[in-house]
Symmetry: C2
Subunit: 209 residues, 2 copies
């Protein structure tokens, strides 16, 4: 009678609906931001475009900016985390990250304008910057989990996964900052490798205490 139903993801219809609503809102927010160049986009615009009530918006996102940033980043974050996971097993944690971002360099020209649009919108206002940074924390965690298995001697509470995630996001942020400062005309993948080059992680957890 029971079982047989849910296979792996024990997510019910309720949770699925909820995530779909959240996605609709984020998508609408990002689309409006891109279309309008961000000028004058309001929460009422977003909820109208997403076809949800105003209260629902704030149940899913703590601020307008977070919704826009989430929509802009969209699948991008998941793509990167997946890429890191797919890197050659022989690569260590930082090596896998460098490889993943190098893959982004292949065919970068096709994505240049999209990246530029996203980068500029995320820097449009101080509030956008602040909430984008807030969003990055989630990515830090994701990246940390993605590389954890590559860390020798990993134990519960090991600071390395989170730190590697944070350092990676810092490299990405600073690389894009420099890229934007040069009017998005430079070689972003190369800049990214340049900043990632500063990251070095001890092969083993320093035997402290």
């Amino acid at each position: 009678m029971l079982s047989v139903i849910a296979v792996h993801p024990p997510v019910g219809r309720r949770e699925r609906n909820r995530q779909e609503t959240r996605q609709r809102i984020a998508d609408a927010a990002a689309r409006l931001a891109v279309d309008g160049g961000h000028v004058g986009i309001t929460v009422d615009d977003i909820v109208a475009a997403a076809g949800v009530g105003r209260a629902t918006f704030f149940r899913h996102f703590e601020s307008k900016e977070l919704a826009v940033a989430t929509g802009l980043s969209g699948a991008g974050a998941f793509v990167m985390v997946d890429l890191i996971r797919q890197a050659d097993d022989a690569l260590d944690a930082v090596g896998a990250i460098r490889w993943a971002y190098a893959q982004l360099g292949v065919d970068f020209e096709a994505l240049r304008s999209m990246f530029a649009e996203q980068a500029l919108l995320c820097r449009w206002s101080p509030a956008m910057v602040a909430w984008t940074l807030h969003l990055y924390v989630d990515w830090e965690i994701g990246i940390g989990e993605a590389v954890a298995s590559r860390l020798p001697g990993l134990r519960p509470g090991d600071p390395r996964p989170r730190m590697i995630g944070a350092m990676t996001m810092a490299a990405a942020r600073l690389a894009v900052d420099e890229w934007v400062a040069g009017d998005c005309t430079g070689d972003l993948p190369a800049l990214m490798q340049r900043y990632l080059g500063v990251i070095e992680v001890p092969a083993h957890l320093p035997t402290h205490t």
Copy 2:
């Protein structure tokens, strides 16, 4: 006639007044947040306490949260940057940072409750977290400048200073996160060293390109 006036800091009275106003606002914001446990503190409260007009508030701070965060961090940031600068010349960049944060460990108990208060307020709401992260960017820059002279082969555009600043702030943030998760009862300086231990920077700029 001219010259002879300003010695080193070419800051005029106007700039000084401006900074004083900004400081008054930040101080009032932090004091109200600490006193009231943050509950229900409004911009009108802050401007009344600071004795400035509402418009002036938003000329100095892009959001209420940024004002509170700035006031809370207050002198702390400057103290750390100064400490890093005062570290023994024999120490390299990361060594100087580790030493500076180790100094914080001396007499930590006297500061424990103050740190706890500040840490909890900065994590009170998602908005506080977001704007605190925004504020951290300034510290990143400050730390980067403070250690730049310790980096061999430094050249314009070198990614190391900013990256070291960002990695340091990441370590601080994650250490405090873990400390707060343990109800602020643990050994924060030790946690800090633990996270800082993950940072390793190549002695020389990787000869890329």
